[in-house]
Amino acid sequence: MTIEQITGRYLTVEVAGRAQRIYFEEAGQGRPVLCLHTAGSDTRQWRHILNDPAITAENRIIAFDMPWHGKSLPPEGFMQEEYLLSTKAYMETVLAVIGGLELNRPVLAGVSMGGRIALQLAVHHPESFAGFLAIEASDFQPAWYDIDWFHRPDAHGGEMGAALVSTNISPYAPDTERANTLWMFMQSGPGVFRGDLSFYTQDDSLVGQLHRIDTAKTPVHFIVGAYDFTCTPEDARRTAEQVEGATLSVMDEVGHFPMSEYPEAFRPFFVDGLARMPSAGAGAS
């Protein structure tokens, strides 16, 4: 029998005037590291990092389910709404969680759309963070697919979404973790993946803004997988080159969901990324 070290609780915060009951998991103590999941998935993507005793010995790893995702319910009245994530709502949600948990300038580690919002926060709210790990992250990615495929009454959006994103999983990923990664997409609520993709593939407001990031105050490290065909290494490099002082690592045998699809291969890159971030309390406001 094993009982994992991860604990999960709920936090209710107000975002844009509405109460959001947010599920979060955490493990460890020390420097706070807030982790963001990808589109169409949830906190379970971070299970291996949250369960890593060497990492959690010095870091308080925290991950939360965005509203509408995982165990975070949609807000009251959602049945009459179309879910469409926006940059503004996403940034406000991250900042509300930081405030609600009273985190003192965490490192922000975001993957895919989480990496995109990490870069937006690096531009617009750097004072709230110690540094940024932008994983599978780029300034903008237009869709090479029709996002409306993933919310329709005659097909299962989750299964279609999982089959689509399997394009971005490395053939080196262990079969078990590939399956677990896809399962989270299959479980995504109707229209949620589409609503996330709307933000990810249509909001280009980060373009032209990245030069504003001051990496002397908040370092930015990019990590990207060679098997990522949504945010390719070229996309990440193009983006990193716009952030003066940013660094970039390429993982040869990994795809778009590194912490979930191939945790063993991702781990050294994540540890290296954390080492590039300020230690706990350094420069705290």
Partner: protein, 126 residues
Amino acid sequence: MLDRMKQMQAALDRLPHLRRMGALFSETVLIKVDGQEFYLVFEKGRIAQLLEGPSKKTPYRFSFVTDEDAFEEFWTATPKPGFHDIFAMVKIGRAEIMGDILLLVKNLRFLKEVLALPRARREVVE
């Protein structure tokens, strides 16, 4: 390439979980490799017929067009980036998908797994 198609057909017959996944799929798909045509006639998740072209009379719902080198790389245990997935092959310009792409997407998991059936098993080193 015909052997590869037969390999796919036989492997599918041995995999009940995959046939169940495709139980509602009864359509014809054209696979074209270096100009060589293969019509896979699916019936309830099985490849009931494997017809060799060329044919201008065989109706099909969509086609996957590639070259032999790309397909053989796709079927290795650990394909190079871009050759590991049919959509990635399209993105790097080594394949084309034409026709009713929504029908493909609705059955995407089933069809991706069927097309990958000739893939070599990866040796896992513990």
